[in-house]
């Protein structure tokens, strides 16, 4: 009995300690949310706004001719993230399927090339990539913002691995029934690899939504800014004057990733735990 009671107490203690840290971890986000409803202009660390108001959010919605329109940036970020995600899923799953199931000479070489390229940090290609987009006149376009996110090397490897591990019977059965490669891909493989595609889709969406350096390099026009860039412009415009508005803009930028997390936690946890992805 005493041993059991002892263990229970230890468990309660560990839970309490973890809870304290978890709350500490959540505090900056709570402050952000609370400050976005703060009417008083003096910054401070209150858990609840001292003078609650919707004015900060209204200012984001209706910029009234101010230089920075956060909602245009929000729209840009959404377009780029959604387009990148949809195209990455299509392009990477097709390539992964080919590498897993369609025999061709050089299969191993292609896979080796992909794995070798994964060792090269993307920062190496920043300068030449900028050059290429510049030569094609694609700077300041959605194309420039989205394209680099579509080619997910890890995505192809992930999808290929998932398809290789599928039981071969289903695909063989479809092939015996006379299904061609496209039909097998579309009606057999894609439905079976949904978990892998969900993980990849979330990764590409977040990668695109959160990206800072590439939009910073590939856009110069304010109307093409994505949300992370607009946050910076916004802060230098209002940071000293109206801190509630700045926090509202930060709250706006973190809401979509947190929503994704809320609804797809299982996939995100599995994605990071199993593949060690994307740091």
């Amino acid at each position: 009995m005493t041993a059991l009671a002892h263990r229970r107490r230890a468990r309660r203690l560990a839970t309490a300690a973890a809870l304290v840290f978890a709350i500490l971890w959540g505090l900056p986000l709570l402050w952000t949310l609370s400050s976005s409803f703060e009417g008083s202009t003096t910054p401070g660390s209150r858990l609840l706004p001292s003078d609650p108001t919707l004015a900060n959010w209204e200012m984001l919605v209706d910029p009234g001719g101010r230089a920075v329109n956060i909602f245009i940036a929000f729209f840009n970020s959404t377009v780029v993230a959604v387009v990148s995600t949809v195209l990455a899923l299509l392009v990477c799953s097709m390539a992964g399927y080919a590498l897993a199931k369609l025999p061709f000479r050089g299969n191993a070489a292609v896979l080796g090339l992909l794995l070798a390229t994964m060792l090269i940090p993307g920062e190496v290609v920043l300068v030449p990539l900028f050059q290429q987009f510049r030569e094609l006149g694609l700077l300041n376009t959605y194309g420039a913002l989205a394209l680099p996110h579509i080619v997910s090397l890890l995505g192809v490897v992930l999808v290929r691995q998932f398809i290789v591990n599928l039981p071969p019977d289903l695909i063989d059965a479809a092939r015996s029934d006379g299904a061609n490669a496209w039909q097998i891909y579309r009606y057999v493989v894609v439905p079976l690899i949904r978990p892998a595609l969900t993980t990849l889709g979330i990764l590409v969406f977040l990668g695109s939504w959160n990206d800072f350096l590439w939009p910073l390099i590939s856009t110069s026009s304010p109307s093409m800014q994505t949300l992370p860039l607009a946050l910076v412009t916004f802060r230098s415009a209002y940071g000293d004057v109206d801190y509630g508005v700045v926090m509202a803009s930060a709250a706006l930028a973190i809401t979509p990733p947190l929503l994704v997390f809320l609804f797809a936690q299982r996939f995100i946890i599995a994605g990071i735990s199993n593949t060690g992805l994307k740091g």
Partner: protein
């Protein structure tokens, strides 16, 4: 028809060939080409060509703004070794790596060990630590600028509440890097936490039971069961954090702009400013390649060391 050829096991063919004899007709290779084409074209345009061009650019003194420049051989690399700015930036980056990697991995391991226990509300706790990992660095930096504000910031309020002196944080050269490491810990700890938690859960429970029957203490269980069980994953986490930390940029750039007085300017910030503010394209490309080379060397050293420690 390929149907025929695939049904005939080649002389000296492997066992695989025998299995293939029972398989239905196999698709032809042009189909593979069609399925690979969209990715292949993008891969060429966004990876293969830029990697080669980047290396060529690093051998030139091209300036895009002025449209000048030509081949200079390895001069950029030679210049970089003597460039005080680059050496300072590399020093700050290495300092960040040396502070950030142990802090992040140790914190991730401790949190994983705690969350691996039978706690109430474990998923909620885990979510609190993983949530920040998914957020844009620009928003995180913005939030932390206010958290770290010396006068009104919440961190100083907390310090004062528990009787510790308020700090300057971002305006104090000695503290700014510490503040960056603190932010990075908050932002990124979910990653080592999740991977290590998964590794901990993969250790068979029977090993702990056996150790307990043998009278092993908690520390001995950790030392002889837990640690060997997660060692390969721990090594991987360290490597991934090393690589990522060498590429540190946005949180530093947005939190301190490299200051105060240049004390937190890192390699990638120098690359950005050289290439996209001063438009010294060739020099910036060389910085990119040198950074990649450093990361490659670190990866190789890590592999050699971890292989050797597996043997011993």
């Amino acid at each position: 028809m390929s149907v025929l050829s695939s049904r005939i096991p080649l002389a000296g063919g492997r066992a695989r060939a025998a299995n293939q004899a029972n398989e239905p007709p196999r698709p032809r290779s042009w189909q593979a080409a069609v399925f690979l084409a969209p990715f292949g074209v993008l891969f060429l345009f966004l990876w293969a060509v830029p990697v080669v061009r980047g290396f060529y650019l690093s051998l030139t003194d091209v300036n895009v703004a002025e449209g000048t420049g030509g081949f200079v051989g390895l001069a950029n690399y030679a210049d970089l070794f003597g460039d005080g700015d680059f050496r300072a930036a590399l020093g700050h980056t290495v300092l960040f790596v040396v502070l950030n990697v142990p802090v992040l991995v140790a914190a991730g391991l401790i949190l994983a060990l705690v969350l691996n226990r039978d706690l109430s509300g474990r998923n909620l706790l885990r979510a609190a630590f993983v949530g920040p990992y998914l957020l844009p660095g620009a928003a995180v930096a913005l939030i932390w600028t206010l958290v770290l504000d010396p006068v009104d910031g919440s961190l100083n309020s907390v310090l004062e509440a528990v009787g510790l002196p308020a700090q300057q944080w971002l305006t104090e050269p000695g503290q700014a890097m510490g503040a960056v490491v603190l932010l990075t810990l908050w932002w990124r700890v979910g990653f080592p936490l999740l991977i290590l938690l998964a590794a901990l859960q993969d250790i068979p429970k029977q090993l702990y039971e056996a150790a307990r029957i043998d009278g092993a203490s908690r520390w001995q269980q950790f030392r002889y069961v837990t640690l060997p069980g997660i060692a390969p994953v721990l090594g991987l986490v360290v490597l991934l954090r090393l690589i990522d930390s060498f590429k540190v940029f946005e949180q530093v750039y947005l939190l301190t702009q490299g200051g105060p007085s240049g004390s937190t300017r890192v390699v990638l910030q120098m690359l950005y400013e050289t290439g996209f503010r001063d438009f010294r394209t060739g020099y910036a490309a060389a910085i990119g390649w040198l950074l990649a080379l450093i990361i490659l060397v670190v990866t190789i050293v890590h592999q050699v060391v971890s292989r050797r420690s597996v043997k011993s």
